[in-house]
Symmetry: C2
């Protein structure tokens, strides 16, 4: 079986090394907290105002915008070299698990990325090199979650087989 990260690379066109080039330097130290707050605020303002793609906006209908912003920038800060703000408040990021309620399709990933690219284009806090690294990370991660979503649907479609699959190997 193709692994989550293999699918993420194939679908996103971003290989593993480029996706995690965010780890080559400390982007939090370079950019500072406010840059991340601004980025997530811009991003979610676009998402919650998305009138062109109502199906996308509707996925966020039951979350408060302020909460969505905080969850996102705290995760970004933690993942990009800053203090573990997210885990102190909410525990493990558990990206696939926490996205379980949402239909993370290829189309949803592309729409998410489009809003993020637009927010990034407007950011005056983030230098070009960091923007490239971050977008590669986001692009790979978005499709990693599409792969996670498909795995979940597979499990649901094979419900009985799954429940008894005590010795099924972990995703490799």
């Amino acid at each position: 079986m193709q692994s989550l990260q293999e699918k993420a690379s194939a679908w996103s066109g971003v290989d593993q090394a480029d996706a995690f080039a965010i780890d080559e330097s400390n982007l939090f130290e370079k950019l500072g907290l406010q840059s991340f707050i601004n980025l997530s605020t811009n991003f979610y303002t676009r998402v919650y105002d998305d009138e062109e793609e109502e199906w996308f906006r509707s996925m966020f209908a039951n979350s408060k915008k302020e909460d969505a912003i905080q969850n996102q920038y705290e995760f970004f800060v933690q993942r990009m070299g800053g203090p573990p703000l997210y885990s102190q408040r909410k525990g493990h990021p558990a990206l696939i698990g926490r996205h379980r309620p949402f239909p993370v399709t290829h189309e949803a990933a592309e729409r998410w990325l489009q809003h993020m690219q637009n927010a990034m284009d407007e950011s005056v806090d983030i230098d070009q090199d960091s923007k490239v690294k971050m977008m590669n990370f986001f692009r790979h991660t978005a499709f990693f979650l599409v792969a996670g979503n498909e795995l979940q649907n597979q499990n649901q479609n094979n419900q009985v087989a799954c429940k008894h699959a005590a010795t099924k190997p972990a995703e490799e």
Copy 2:
């Protein structure tokens, strides 16, 4: 709905702050890579030799012991202040997603923790204070995964409702 981390705290008896006290200092810098390799090697030697609880050992039957060891210590290193070895090789930890194939029950969490406590007790590389912090992290995380496992079973039991729950709120 009680959140993943609230369930993890209630079931483990470890509150959020104690669980993530591993972030107060850099345990990787303090302990070094070899301590983590030794710990995971000792842990999985116990797991793969677990003849008392065959049901527990059987969960690992389709994974190679060397792979299990590497996956674990690379994740620990990455999470405890070291280089992101795990993500460079495998992508996001996605703890709940990657444990999806396994029945992570309360009993499985307790058995995991018992082996880890025994491995920790034998470790000569890890000081007492770090051992306490790490075990709190492990205990909280084990029950976080039990909570994640229950969420997954819920989803499977409400298969139709779930597939259409496009606007269902994320775990809060």
